[in-house]
Protein backbone atom coordinates (compact mmCIF):
# COMPACT_ATOMS: atom_id res chain seq x y z
CA UNK A 1 0.00 0.00 0.00
CA UNK A 2 1.35 3.40 -0.85
CA UNK A 3 0.86 6.48 1.21
CA UNK A 4 -2.62 7.90 0.82
CA UNK A 5 -1.63 11.22 2.27
CA UNK A 6 1.08 13.76 1.94
CA UNK A 7 4.42 12.02 2.34
CA UNK A 8 5.19 14.43 5.12
CA UNK A 9 2.01 13.89 7.14
CA UNK A 10 2.77 13.01 10.76
CA UNK A 11 -0.01 12.57 13.33
CA UNK A 12 0.04 11.11 16.85
CA UNK A 13 -2.03 7.95 16.80
CA UNK A 14 -3.72 9.00 20.06
CA UNK A 15 -5.51 11.67 18.03
CA UNK A 16 -7.55 8.85 16.53
CA UNK A 17 -9.27 8.43 19.92
CA UNK A 18 -10.56 11.98 19.84
CA UNK A 19 -11.76 11.60 16.27
CA UNK A 20 -12.95 8.01 15.77
CA UNK A 21 -14.23 7.29 19.28
CA UNK A 22 -16.18 10.53 18.97
CA UNK A 23 -17.81 9.22 15.78
CA UNK A 24 -18.57 5.85 17.35
CA UNK A 25 -20.06 7.43 20.49
CA UNK A 26 -22.28 9.53 18.29
CA UNK A 27 -23.50 6.38 16.54
CA UNK A 28 -23.95 4.22 19.65
CA UNK A 29 -25.32 5.63 22.88
CA UNK A 30 -24.22 2.52 24.80
CA UNK A 31 -20.56 3.45 24.49
CA UNK A 32 -19.07 5.06 27.60
CA UNK A 33 -15.58 6.54 27.91
CA UNK A 34 -13.82 6.21 31.25
CA UNK A 35 -10.79 8.23 32.21
CA UNK A 36 -8.41 8.22 35.17
CA UNK A 37 -7.79 11.97 35.27
CA UNK A 38 -6.21 12.11 31.81
CA UNK A 39 -9.03 13.43 29.64
CA UNK A 40 -6.94 15.85 27.60
CA UNK A 41 -3.87 13.64 27.27
CA UNK A 42 -5.93 10.72 25.97
CA UNK A 43 -7.77 13.06 23.60
CA UNK A 44 -11.20 12.81 25.19
CA UNK A 45 -11.67 16.57 25.44
CA UNK A 46 -14.19 16.98 22.62
CA UNK A 47 -15.96 13.77 23.65
CA UNK A 48 -16.18 15.04 27.23
CA UNK A 49 -17.61 18.35 26.01
CA UNK A 50 -20.26 16.75 23.86
CA UNK A 51 -21.11 13.55 25.74
CA UNK A 52 -20.34 14.56 29.30
CA UNK A 53 -23.00 12.18 30.66
CA UNK A 54 -21.16 9.27 29.03
CA UNK A 55 -17.67 10.18 30.18
CA UNK A 56 -16.84 8.86 33.66
CA UNK A 57 -13.77 10.30 35.33
CA UNK A 58 -12.78 7.96 38.15
CA UNK A 59 -9.90 10.14 39.32
CA UNK A 60 -6.34 8.92 39.67
CA UNK A 61 -7.45 5.34 40.20
CA UNK A 62 -6.62 2.83 37.49
CA UNK A 63 -7.98 -0.26 39.23
CA UNK A 64 -11.23 1.60 39.75
CA UNK A 65 -11.24 2.33 36.02
CA UNK A 66 -11.52 -1.40 35.30
CA UNK A 67 -13.89 -2.30 38.12
CA UNK A 68 -16.41 0.41 37.26
CA UNK A 69 -16.19 -0.51 33.57
CA UNK A 70 -16.84 -4.14 34.41
CA UNK A 71 -20.01 -3.25 36.31
CA UNK A 72 -21.21 -0.98 33.52
CA UNK A 73 -20.69 -3.77 31.00
CA UNK A 74 -22.73 -6.13 33.19
CA UNK A 75 -25.78 -3.95 32.55
CA UNK A 76 -25.15 -3.75 28.81
CA UNK A 77 -22.94 -0.72 28.25
CA UNK A 78 -19.75 -0.78 26.16
CA UNK A 79 -17.07 0.88 28.29
CA UNK A 80 -13.87 2.24 26.75
CA UNK A 81 -11.23 2.73 29.42
CA UNK A 82 -8.46 5.20 28.69
CA UNK A 83 -5.19 6.01 30.38
CA UNK A 84 -1.45 5.88 29.82
CA UNK A 85 -0.22 2.37 29.09
CA UNK A 86 2.27 2.56 31.97
CA UNK A 87 -0.72 2.67 34.36
CA UNK A 88 -3.35 0.78 32.37
CA UNK A 89 -2.43 -2.07 31.92
CA UNK A 90 0.75 -1.33 33.88
CA UNK A 91 -0.96 -0.97 37.25
CA UNK A 92 -4.34 -2.64 36.77
CA UNK A 93 -3.29 -5.79 34.92
CA UNK A 94 -4.81 -8.23 37.44
CA UNK A 95 -8.10 -6.33 37.24
CA UNK A 96 -8.04 -6.51 33.45
CA UNK A 97 -7.24 -10.22 33.65
CA UNK A 98 -10.13 -11.08 35.99
CA UNK A 99 -12.81 -8.44 35.55
CA UNK A 100 -12.40 -7.96 31.78
CA UNK A 101 -10.80 -10.99 30.11
CA UNK A 102 -11.74 -13.93 32.36
CA UNK A 103 -15.22 -12.40 32.46
CA UNK A 104 -15.05 -11.99 28.65
CA UNK A 105 -16.53 -8.54 28.87
CA UNK A 106 -17.11 -6.27 25.90
CA UNK A 107 -14.70 -3.66 27.24
CA UNK A 108 -12.15 -1.73 25.19
CA UNK A 109 -8.84 -0.70 26.71
CA UNK A 110 -7.32 2.28 24.90
CA UNK A 111 -3.88 3.20 26.18
CA UNK A 112 -1.76 6.08 25.03
CA UNK A 113 1.85 7.06 25.72
CA UNK A 114 3.44 3.81 24.66
CA UNK A 115 7.15 3.20 24.30
CA UNK A 116 10.06 5.59 24.11
CA UNK A 117 7.89 8.05 22.23
CA UNK A 118 6.64 9.37 25.57
CA UNK A 119 9.95 11.24 25.75
CA UNK A 120 10.73 13.64 28.54
CA UNK A 121 8.57 12.05 31.27
CA UNK A 122 11.13 9.29 31.39
CA UNK A 123 11.22 5.57 32.04
CA UNK A 124 8.40 5.51 34.59
CA UNK A 125 5.93 6.63 31.93
CA UNK A 126 7.32 4.74 28.92
CA UNK A 127 5.29 1.54 28.63
CA UNK A 128 7.44 -1.03 26.88
CA UNK A 129 6.19 -4.19 28.53
CA UNK A 130 2.51 -3.83 27.68
CA UNK A 131 2.51 -6.09 24.61
CA UNK A 132 4.16 -8.86 26.60
CA UNK A 133 1.77 -8.66 29.55
CA UNK A 134 -1.36 -8.24 27.46
CA UNK A 135 -0.87 -10.81 24.76
CA UNK A 136 -0.69 -13.64 27.30
CA UNK A 137 -4.25 -13.05 28.52
CA UNK A 138 -6.91 -15.29 26.95
CA UNK A 139 -9.92 -13.68 25.21
CA UNK A 140 -8.05 -10.40 24.65
CA UNK A 141 -7.43 -8.91 21.21
CA UNK A 142 -4.22 -6.81 21.14
CA UNK A 143 -3.82 -4.16 18.44
CA UNK A 144 -0.86 -1.88 17.74
CA UNK A 145 -1.70 0.46 14.87
CA UNK A 146 1.12 1.99 12.83
CA UNK A 147 -0.41 5.39 12.15
CA UNK A 148 -3.35 7.67 12.76
CA UNK A 149 -5.49 6.08 10.04
CA UNK A 150 -4.87 2.51 11.08
CA UNK A 151 -5.60 3.62 14.66
CA UNK A 152 -8.99 4.97 13.55
CA UNK A 153 -9.73 1.75 11.68
CA UNK A 154 -8.64 -0.25 14.73
CA UNK A 155 -11.02 1.71 17.00
CA UNK A 156 -13.88 1.15 14.60
CA UNK A 157 -13.04 -2.56 14.40
CA UNK A 158 -12.69 -2.89 18.19
CA UNK A 159 -16.15 -1.42 18.72
CA UNK A 160 -17.65 -3.68 16.06
CA UNK A 161 -16.71 -6.93 17.82
CA UNK A 162 -18.11 -8.35 21.06
CA UNK A 163 -14.78 -8.95 22.78
CA UNK A 164 -12.28 -7.30 25.06
CA UNK A 165 -9.75 -5.37 22.97
CA UNK A 166 -6.52 -3.57 23.90
CA UNK A 167 -5.26 -0.83 21.57
CA UNK A 168 -1.99 1.03 22.12
CA UNK A 169 -1.57 4.59 20.84
CA UNK A 170 1.45 6.87 20.51
CA UNK A 171 1.93 10.29 22.03
CA UNK A 172 4.44 11.27 19.36
CA UNK A 173 3.49 12.01 15.75
CA UNK A 174 4.09 9.15 13.35
CA UNK A 175 4.15 9.07 9.57
CA UNK A 176 0.90 8.19 7.84
CA UNK A 177 0.75 5.15 5.58
CA UNK A 178 -2.75 3.74 5.72
CA UNK A 179 -6.11 4.69 4.30
CA UNK A 180 -8.93 6.12 6.34
CA UNK A 181 -12.11 4.15 6.84
CA UNK A 182 -11.10 0.82 5.42
CA UNK A 183 -11.62 -2.48 7.17
CA UNK A 184 -8.97 -3.18 9.80
CA UNK A 185 -6.83 -6.17 8.86
CA UNK A 186 -4.35 -8.14 10.94
CA UNK A 187 -1.52 -7.20 8.61
CA UNK A 188 -0.89 -5.00 5.59
CA UNK A 189 1.78 -5.46 2.97
CA UNK A 190 3.19 -1.97 2.53
CA UNK A 191 5.83 -2.64 -0.12
CA UNK A 192 6.98 -5.57 -2.26
CA UNK A 193 9.94 -6.26 -4.47
CA UNK A 194 9.52 -9.22 -6.79
CA UNK A 195 13.07 -9.10 -8.12
CA UNK A 196 14.43 -12.46 -9.16
CA UNK A 197 18.02 -11.80 -8.18
CA UNK A 198 19.88 -14.51 -6.30
CA UNK A 199 20.35 -12.40 -3.22
CA UNK A 200 19.40 -13.41 0.29
CA UNK A 201 15.77 -12.35 0.61
CA UNK A 202 14.63 -10.40 3.66
CA UNK A 203 11.06 -9.85 4.81
CA UNK A 204 10.56 -6.95 7.20
CA UNK A 205 7.74 -7.29 9.74
CA UNK A 206 6.97 -4.13 11.69
CA UNK A 207 4.38 -3.20 14.27
CA UNK A 208 3.18 0.14 15.58
CA UNK A 209 5.23 3.29 15.23
CA UNK A 210 8.31 1.52 13.85
CA UNK A 211 6.95 1.39 10.30
CA UNK A 212 8.79 4.47 9.11
CA UNK A 213 12.10 2.98 10.28
CA UNK A 214 11.11 -0.33 8.75
CA UNK A 215 10.59 1.48 5.46
CA UNK A 216 14.03 3.06 5.81
CA UNK A 217 15.54 -0.40 6.32
CA UNK A 218 13.65 -1.71 3.32
CA UNK A 219 15.18 0.99 1.14
CA UNK A 220 18.69 0.94 2.56
CA UNK A 221 19.79 -2.60 3.38
CA UNK A 222 20.62 -3.47 -0.21
CA UNK A 223 22.39 -0.16 -0.71
CA UNK A 224 24.68 -1.07 2.19
CA UNK A 225 25.14 -4.75 1.42
CA UNK A 226 24.46 -6.00 -2.08
CA UNK A 227 24.09 -9.61 -0.92
CA UNK A 228 20.64 -8.82 0.43
CA UNK A 229 17.32 -7.88 -1.13
CA UNK A 230 14.31 -6.78 0.88
CA UNK A 231 11.43 -8.61 -0.69
CA UNK A 232 8.58 -7.14 1.36
CA UNK A 233 7.70 -4.58 4.00
CA UNK A 234 4.78 -5.60 6.20
CA UNK A 235 2.85 -3.88 8.94
CA UNK A 236 1.23 -6.01 11.65
CA UNK A 237 -1.52 -3.95 13.28
CA UNK A 238 -2.72 -6.96 15.23
CA UNK A 239 -0.41 -8.59 17.74
CA UNK A 240 -3.11 -11.00 18.85
CA UNK A 241 -4.49 -12.68 16.92
CA UNK A 242 -1.34 -12.51 14.86
CA UNK A 243 -1.58 -13.08 11.12
CA UNK A 244 -0.09 -16.57 11.13
CA UNK A 245 -1.05 -17.18 7.52
CA UNK A 246 0.86 -14.12 6.36
CA UNK A 247 3.90 -14.99 8.48
CA UNK A 248 4.01 -18.51 7.05
CA UNK A 249 3.64 -17.15 3.51
CA UNK A 250 6.50 -14.74 4.15
CA UNK A 251 8.59 -17.55 5.58
CA UNK A 252 8.07 -19.51 2.40
CA UNK A 253 9.48 -16.70 0.23
CA UNK A 254 12.17 -15.35 2.58
CA UNK A 255 15.58 -16.32 3.87
CA UNK A 256 15.61 -13.90 6.80
CA UNK A 257 12.99 -12.07 8.87
CA UNK A 258 13.54 -8.73 10.54
CA UNK A 259 10.96 -7.71 13.14
CA UNK A 260 10.61 -4.19 14.56
CA UNK A 261 8.80 -2.92 17.61
CA UNK A 262 9.15 -0.13 20.18
CA UNK A 263 8.70 -2.53 23.10
CA UNK A 264 10.78 -5.03 25.04
CA UNK A 265 12.04 -7.90 22.92
CA UNK A 266 11.23 -10.37 25.67
CA UNK A 267 7.62 -11.34 25.07
CA UNK A 268 6.96 -8.71 22.44
CA UNK A 269 5.93 -8.75 18.78
CA UNK A 270 9.14 -10.40 17.60
CA UNK A 271 8.55 -13.16 20.12
CA UNK A 272 5.04 -13.63 18.69
CA UNK A 273 6.56 -14.07 15.22
CA UNK A 274 9.06 -16.58 16.62
CA UNK A 275 6.22 -18.53 18.20
CA UNK A 276 4.54 -18.84 14.80
CA UNK A 277 7.66 -20.02 12.98
CA UNK A 278 9.38 -21.91 15.79
CA UNK A 279 9.35 -25.16 13.86
CA UNK A 280 11.04 -23.71 10.79
CA UNK A 281 14.64 -22.75 10.32
CA UNK A 282 14.41 -19.19 9.16
CA UNK A 283 16.74 -16.75 10.94
CA UNK A 284 14.92 -13.89 12.64
CA UNK A 285 16.53 -10.61 13.58
CA UNK A 286 14.40 -8.98 16.23
CA UNK A 287 14.68 -5.24 16.76
CA UNK A 288 13.19 -3.60 19.83
CA UNK A 289 14.10 -2.55 23.34
CA UNK A 290 16.91 -4.79 24.55
CA UNK A 291 15.82 -5.48 28.13
CA UNK A 292 16.36 -1.96 29.43
CA UNK A 293 14.27 0.94 30.68
CA UNK A 294 14.19 4.28 28.89
CA UNK A 295 14.95 7.70 30.39
CA UNK A 296 14.03 11.35 29.96
CA UNK A 297 14.74 13.16 26.71
CA UNK A 298 13.05 14.27 23.54
CA UNK A 299 11.72 11.24 21.76
CA UNK A 300 13.94 11.56 18.70
CA UNK A 301 17.06 11.57 20.88
CA UNK A 302 15.73 8.58 22.80
CA UNK A 303 15.08 6.57 19.67
CA UNK A 304 18.62 7.40 18.56
CA UNK A 305 20.21 6.51 21.91
CA UNK A 306 18.43 3.18 22.12
CA UNK A 307 19.21 2.49 18.46
CA UNK A 308 15.59 2.45 17.42
CA UNK A 309 15.98 5.30 14.90
CA UNK A 310 16.63 4.72 11.23
CA UNK A 311 20.41 4.74 11.42
CA UNK A 312 20.59 2.76 14.65
CA UNK A 313 18.28 0.05 13.41
CA UNK A 314 20.07 -0.15 10.06
CA UNK A 315 23.39 -0.59 11.86
CA UNK A 316 22.00 -3.26 14.17
CA UNK A 317 20.56 -5.14 11.23
CA UNK A 318 23.67 -4.86 9.09
CA UNK A 319 25.83 -6.05 11.99
CA UNK A 320 23.62 -9.05 12.51
CA UNK A 321 23.49 -9.83 8.81
CA UNK A 322 27.26 -9.85 8.75
CA UNK A 323 27.53 -12.09 11.75
CA UNK A 324 28.36 -15.77 11.35
CA UNK A 325 24.95 -16.74 12.65
CA UNK A 326 23.26 -15.29 9.63
CA UNK A 327 25.85 -15.80 6.93
Amino acid sequence: MSNNNSAEEYIATRNAIGDELYVQMKLNSNIFALSADLIDSTKLTKINDEFSDRVINVGVAETSLVQIASGLEQVGFIPVITSFAAFSPGRNWDFIRTSVCYSNRNIKIFSTHVGLGVGEDGATHQAMEDIAIMRVIPNLVVLNPCDYYEAKNAIKYALSIDSPVYIRFTRQPVKSYCFNNIEFTKSIEIKRNNSIDKNVKISILSTGCMLETAEYLYENIQKNNSRFTCSSLNNFGSIKPIDEKKILELKHESDIFITLEDTQLFGGFGSSVLEVICESHIPVIRIGMEDSFGESGDYLSLFAKYRLDNEGVLKRVLDKLKSQLIS
Partner: protein, 290 residues
Protein backbone atom coordinates in the same frame (compact mmCIF):
# COMPACT_ATOMS: atom_id res chain seq x y z
CA UNK B 1 -40.57 -8.67 45.80
CA UNK B 2 -38.52 -11.56 47.11
CA UNK B 3 -39.85 -14.76 45.49
CA UNK B 4 -39.74 -16.62 48.84
CA UNK B 5 -40.26 -13.98 51.52
CA UNK B 6 -39.69 -16.56 54.25
CA UNK B 7 -40.26 -15.94 57.95
CA UNK B 8 -37.39 -15.88 60.42
CA UNK B 9 -37.68 -19.53 61.48
CA UNK B 10 -37.72 -20.74 57.89
CA UNK B 11 -34.69 -18.57 57.06
CA UNK B 12 -32.90 -20.02 60.05
CA UNK B 13 -33.51 -23.47 58.66
CA UNK B 14 -32.23 -22.35 55.26
CA UNK B 15 -29.05 -21.02 56.84
CA UNK B 16 -28.51 -24.38 58.57
CA UNK B 17 -29.05 -26.16 55.26
CA UNK B 18 -26.75 -23.67 53.49
CA UNK B 19 -23.94 -24.51 55.90
CA UNK B 20 -24.44 -28.22 55.50
CA UNK B 21 -24.45 -27.95 51.69
CA UNK B 22 -21.30 -25.81 51.71
CA UNK B 23 -19.42 -28.19 53.97
CA UNK B 24 -20.48 -31.29 52.05
CA UNK B 25 -19.49 -29.69 48.72
CA UNK B 26 -16.11 -28.65 50.17
CA UNK B 27 -15.61 -32.10 51.70
CA UNK B 28 -16.45 -33.81 48.40
CA UNK B 29 -14.11 -31.49 46.52
CA UNK B 30 -11.42 -31.90 49.16
CA UNK B 31 -10.85 -28.24 48.50
CA UNK B 32 -12.46 -24.94 49.37
CA UNK B 33 -12.98 -22.46 52.19
CA UNK B 34 -15.24 -23.71 55.00
CA UNK B 35 -14.67 -20.98 57.60
CA UNK B 36 -15.91 -17.97 55.62
CA UNK B 37 -18.67 -19.98 53.96
CA UNK B 38 -20.08 -20.69 57.42
CA UNK B 39 -19.73 -17.13 58.66
CA UNK B 40 -21.71 -15.68 55.70
CA UNK B 41 -24.43 -18.34 55.59
CA UNK B 42 -26.93 -16.26 57.60
CA UNK B 43 -26.31 -13.17 55.47
CA UNK B 44 -26.77 -15.21 52.26
CA UNK B 45 -29.99 -16.79 53.53
CA UNK B 46 -31.46 -13.47 54.63
CA UNK B 47 -30.57 -11.85 51.28
CA UNK B 48 -31.84 -14.64 49.02
CA UNK B 49 -34.92 -15.66 51.04
CA UNK B 50 -36.14 -12.30 52.29
CA UNK B 51 -34.32 -9.09 51.47
CA UNK B 52 -33.44 -9.10 47.77
CA UNK B 53 -36.04 -8.51 45.11
CA UNK B 54 -35.71 -10.74 42.06
CA UNK B 55 -37.70 -13.09 39.92
CA UNK B 56 -36.67 -16.70 39.43
CA UNK B 57 -38.24 -16.79 35.98
CA UNK B 58 -36.22 -13.76 34.87
CA UNK B 59 -33.12 -14.00 37.00
CA UNK B 60 -30.83 -12.48 34.39
CA UNK B 61 -32.92 -9.32 34.02
CA UNK B 62 -31.21 -6.01 34.72
CA UNK B 63 -34.32 -4.66 36.42
CA UNK B 64 -33.91 -6.46 39.76
CA UNK B 65 -31.72 -6.33 42.84
CA UNK B 66 -28.20 -7.43 41.97
CA UNK B 67 -25.72 -9.46 43.98
CA UNK B 68 -21.92 -9.59 43.82
CA UNK B 69 -19.84 -11.86 46.03
CA UNK B 70 -16.60 -9.92 46.31
CA UNK B 71 -14.87 -12.27 48.76
CA UNK B 72 -15.17 -14.97 46.12
CA UNK B 73 -13.45 -17.73 48.08
CA UNK B 74 -16.65 -18.15 50.15
CA UNK B 75 -18.43 -19.21 46.96
CA UNK B 76 -19.61 -22.55 48.41
CA UNK B 77 -22.21 -20.65 50.42
CA UNK B 78 -23.22 -18.69 47.27
CA UNK B 79 -23.64 -21.89 45.24
CA UNK B 80 -25.55 -23.40 48.16
CA UNK B 81 -27.94 -20.44 48.09
CA UNK B 82 -28.32 -20.74 44.29
CA UNK B 83 -29.14 -24.42 44.73
CA UNK B 84 -31.62 -23.63 47.49
CA UNK B 85 -33.49 -21.14 45.30
CA UNK B 86 -33.47 -23.73 42.50
CA UNK B 87 -31.12 -22.19 39.94
CA UNK B 88 -28.68 -25.08 40.16
CA UNK B 89 -29.20 -28.67 41.24
CA UNK B 90 -28.00 -29.78 44.66
CA UNK B 91 -26.39 -32.82 43.04
CA UNK B 92 -24.39 -30.54 40.78
CA UNK B 93 -23.13 -28.65 43.81
CA UNK B 94 -22.27 -31.74 45.83
CA UNK B 95 -20.70 -33.72 43.00
CA UNK B 96 -19.00 -31.18 40.73
CA UNK B 97 -17.88 -28.19 42.83
CA UNK B 98 -14.21 -27.42 42.05
CA UNK B 99 -13.97 -30.49 39.80
CA UNK B 100 -13.03 -30.78 36.15
CA UNK B 101 -15.62 -29.57 33.58
CA UNK B 102 -17.84 -28.11 36.30
CA UNK B 103 -19.87 -24.92 36.00
CA UNK B 104 -19.12 -24.44 39.68
CA UNK B 105 -15.60 -23.05 39.57
CA UNK B 106 -13.53 -22.64 42.72
CA UNK B 107 -14.23 -18.92 42.62
CA UNK B 108 -17.27 -17.28 40.97
CA UNK B 109 -17.09 -17.08 37.16
CA UNK B 110 -19.77 -15.22 35.23
CA UNK B 111 -19.14 -17.18 32.03
CA UNK B 112 -19.28 -20.66 33.57
CA UNK B 113 -22.44 -19.78 35.50
CA UNK B 114 -24.49 -16.96 33.96
CA UNK B 115 -26.33 -16.26 37.24
CA UNK B 116 -23.05 -14.98 38.62
CA UNK B 117 -22.72 -11.26 37.93
CA UNK B 118 -18.99 -10.82 38.52
CA UNK B 119 -15.95 -13.04 38.38
CA UNK B 120 -14.19 -12.63 41.69
CA UNK B 121 -11.55 -14.30 43.79
CA UNK B 122 -8.57 -11.95 43.59
CA UNK B 123 -9.64 -9.77 46.52
CA UNK B 124 -10.51 -6.12 46.12
CA UNK B 125 -12.26 -6.35 42.74
CA UNK B 126 -15.85 -7.36 43.29
CA UNK B 127 -16.79 -4.32 45.36
CA UNK B 128 -15.86 -2.03 42.48
CA UNK B 129 -17.67 -4.17 39.92
CA UNK B 130 -20.79 -3.98 42.08
CA UNK B 131 -20.36 -0.22 42.30
CA UNK B 132 -20.08 -0.14 38.50
CA UNK B 133 -23.36 -2.06 38.25
CA UNK B 134 -24.96 0.48 40.58
CA UNK B 135 -23.74 3.32 38.35
CA UNK B 136 -25.07 1.41 35.32
CA UNK B 137 -28.53 1.06 36.91
CA UNK B 138 -28.66 4.82 37.43
CA UNK B 139 -27.50 5.39 33.85
CA UNK B 140 -30.26 3.03 32.71
CA UNK B 141 -32.71 5.00 34.85
CA UNK B 142 -33.62 1.88 36.85
CA UNK B 143 -34.88 3.12 40.19
CA UNK B 144 -35.40 1.47 43.57
CA UNK B 145 -33.25 -1.51 42.72
CA UNK B 146 -30.19 -2.17 44.83
CA UNK B 147 -26.83 -3.76 44.33
CA UNK B 148 -25.96 -5.98 47.27
CA UNK B 149 -22.24 -6.60 47.54
CA UNK B 150 -20.76 -9.01 50.05
CA UNK B 151 -17.18 -8.31 51.06
CA UNK B 152 -15.11 -9.12 54.13
CA UNK B 153 -12.99 -7.25 56.65
CA UNK B 154 -9.80 -8.97 55.48
CA UNK B 155 -10.56 -7.89 51.91
CA UNK B 156 -10.45 -4.29 53.12
CA UNK B 157 -6.68 -4.58 53.43
CA UNK B 158 -6.70 -4.33 49.61
CA UNK B 159 -6.11 -0.70 48.68
CA UNK B 160 -8.10 -0.99 45.45
CA UNK B 161 -11.33 -1.26 47.44
CA UNK B 162 -10.91 2.26 48.76
CA UNK B 163 -10.57 3.70 45.25
CA UNK B 164 -14.08 2.57 44.49
CA UNK B 165 -15.49 3.35 47.95
CA UNK B 166 -14.69 7.01 47.41
CA UNK B 167 -15.92 6.83 43.79
CA UNK B 168 -19.32 5.54 44.99
CA UNK B 169 -19.92 8.45 47.34
CA UNK B 170 -18.52 10.97 44.84
CA UNK B 171 -21.09 9.77 42.29
CA UNK B 172 -23.85 9.66 44.95
CA UNK B 173 -24.63 5.99 44.34
CA UNK B 174 -27.19 5.46 47.09
CA UNK B 175 -28.40 2.25 45.44
CA UNK B 176 -25.47 0.27 46.86
CA UNK B 177 -25.87 -1.93 49.94
CA UNK B 178 -22.45 -3.32 50.81
CA UNK B 179 -22.27 -5.98 53.51
CA UNK B 180 -18.97 -6.69 55.25
CA UNK B 181 -18.47 -10.11 56.74
CA UNK B 182 -16.51 -8.88 59.75
CA UNK B 183 -15.14 -12.05 61.33
CA UNK B 184 -11.67 -10.65 62.10
CA UNK B 185 -9.97 -13.58 60.40
CA UNK B 186 -7.77 -13.87 57.34
CA UNK B 187 -5.59 -16.73 56.15
CA UNK B 188 -2.62 -16.08 58.40
CA UNK B 189 -4.46 -15.13 61.57
CA UNK B 190 -6.56 -12.37 63.09
CA UNK B 191 -7.05 -9.21 61.03
CA UNK B 192 -6.49 -7.11 64.16
CA UNK B 193 -3.10 -8.75 64.65
CA UNK B 194 -1.90 -8.50 61.05
CA UNK B 195 -3.07 -5.13 59.70
CA UNK B 196 -6.27 -3.94 61.41
CA UNK B 197 -8.96 -2.46 59.15
CA UNK B 198 -11.01 -1.08 62.08
CA UNK B 199 -12.74 1.21 62.70
CA UNK B 200 -14.70 0.35 59.57
CA UNK B 201 -17.84 2.27 60.57
CA UNK B 202 -15.92 5.50 61.08
CA UNK B 203 -13.90 4.95 57.94
CA UNK B 204 -17.02 4.47 55.82
CA UNK B 205 -18.75 7.44 57.35
CA UNK B 206 -15.72 9.58 56.64
CA UNK B 207 -15.86 8.36 53.04
CA UNK B 208 -19.44 9.65 52.75
CA UNK B 209 -21.34 6.42 53.29
CA UNK B 210 -24.18 5.62 55.69
CA UNK B 211 -22.85 2.87 57.95
CA UNK B 212 -24.88 0.32 59.91
CA UNK B 213 -23.83 -2.51 62.18
CA UNK B 214 -25.49 -5.87 62.75
CA UNK B 215 -24.91 -9.25 64.27
CA UNK B 216 -24.22 -11.10 61.03
CA UNK B 217 -25.03 -14.47 62.57
CA UNK B 218 -28.42 -13.42 63.89
CA UNK B 219 -31.30 -13.66 61.43
CA UNK B 220 -33.57 -11.30 63.41
CA UNK B 221 -30.91 -8.65 63.66
CA UNK B 222 -29.99 -8.94 59.98
CA UNK B 223 -33.60 -8.58 58.87
CA UNK B 224 -34.12 -5.65 61.20
CA UNK B 225 -30.93 -3.95 59.94
CA UNK B 226 -31.64 -4.49 56.23
CA UNK B 227 -35.11 -3.06 56.84
CA UNK B 228 -33.49 0.05 58.33
CA UNK B 229 -31.03 0.26 55.45
CA UNK B 230 -33.75 0.02 52.83
CA UNK B 231 -35.82 2.69 54.57
CA UNK B 232 -32.74 4.89 54.63
CA UNK B 233 -32.10 4.19 50.93
CA UNK B 234 -35.60 5.39 50.09
CA UNK B 235 -34.54 8.83 51.28
CA UNK B 236 -32.18 9.04 48.28
CA UNK B 237 -29.65 11.05 50.23
CA UNK B 238 -26.84 10.23 47.80
CA UNK B 239 -24.91 8.20 50.37
CA UNK B 240 -24.12 4.52 49.63
CA UNK B 241 -24.95 2.10 52.45
CA UNK B 242 -22.71 -0.34 54.26
CA UNK B 243 -23.67 -2.95 56.83
CA UNK B 244 -20.79 -4.09 58.99
CA UNK B 245 -21.96 -7.57 59.90
CA UNK B 246 -20.11 -8.92 62.92
CA UNK B 247 -19.72 -12.63 62.40
CA UNK B 248 -17.79 -15.61 63.69
CA UNK B 249 -15.68 -17.60 61.26
CA UNK B 250 -16.92 -21.18 61.17
CA UNK B 251 -20.18 -20.20 62.91
CA UNK B 252 -22.36 -23.18 63.80
CA UNK B 253 -19.56 -25.75 63.94
CA UNK B 254 -18.08 -25.68 67.43
CA UNK B 255 -14.60 -26.87 66.57
CA UNK B 256 -14.24 -24.42 63.66
CA UNK B 257 -15.51 -21.27 65.33
CA UNK B 258 -12.98 -18.45 65.39
CA UNK B 259 -10.15 -20.79 64.33
CA UNK B 260 -8.29 -19.24 61.44
CA UNK B 261 -6.87 -22.58 60.32
CA UNK B 262 -10.39 -23.30 59.03
CA UNK B 263 -10.18 -20.46 56.51
CA UNK B 264 -9.13 -22.89 53.81
CA UNK B 265 -8.64 -26.25 55.49
CA UNK B 266 -9.97 -29.41 53.91
CA UNK B 267 -12.51 -31.57 55.73
CA UNK B 268 -12.05 -35.30 56.29
CA UNK B 269 -15.11 -37.58 56.46
CA UNK B 270 -14.74 -37.57 60.25
CA UNK B 271 -14.55 -33.77 60.33
CA UNK B 272 -17.69 -33.56 58.21
CA UNK B 273 -19.63 -35.98 60.43
CA UNK B 274 -18.62 -34.04 63.54
CA UNK B 275 -19.48 -30.75 61.82
CA UNK B 276 -22.88 -32.06 60.78
CA UNK B 277 -23.62 -33.12 64.35
CA UNK B 278 -22.53 -29.75 65.65
CA UNK B 279 -24.69 -27.94 63.09
CA UNK B 280 -27.74 -30.04 64.02
CA UNK B 281 -27.26 -29.17 67.67
CA UNK B 282 -26.79 -25.54 66.72
CA UNK B 283 -30.04 -25.48 64.75
CA UNK B 284 -31.94 -27.24 67.52
CA UNK B 285 -30.66 -24.92 70.24
CA UNK B 286 -31.27 -21.80 68.14
CA UNK B 287 -34.83 -22.85 67.35
CA UNK B 288 -35.44 -23.66 71.03
CA UNK B 289 -34.55 -20.14 71.99
CA UNK B 290 -37.17 -18.78 69.56
Amino acid sequence: MNPFNLDIEAILHKSFENRLLSLEAIKNAQSGHPGGSLSIADIMSVLFFSVMNYSLSDFNSIDKDHFVLSNGHTVASYYAALSQIGLIQKNELLNTFRKIDSRLQGHPHNISLPFVEASTGPLGQGVGVGIGIALGLIMRNIKNRYVYILSSDGEHQEGAIWETIQFASAKRLDNIILVIDNNNIEIDGFVDDIVPVAPLKKKYESFGWDAFEANGNNIDDLIYTFDLVKKSALLHNGRPKVVIAHTVLGYGVDFMENKYIWHGKQLSDVDFDLAKKSLEEYEKSTLNTK
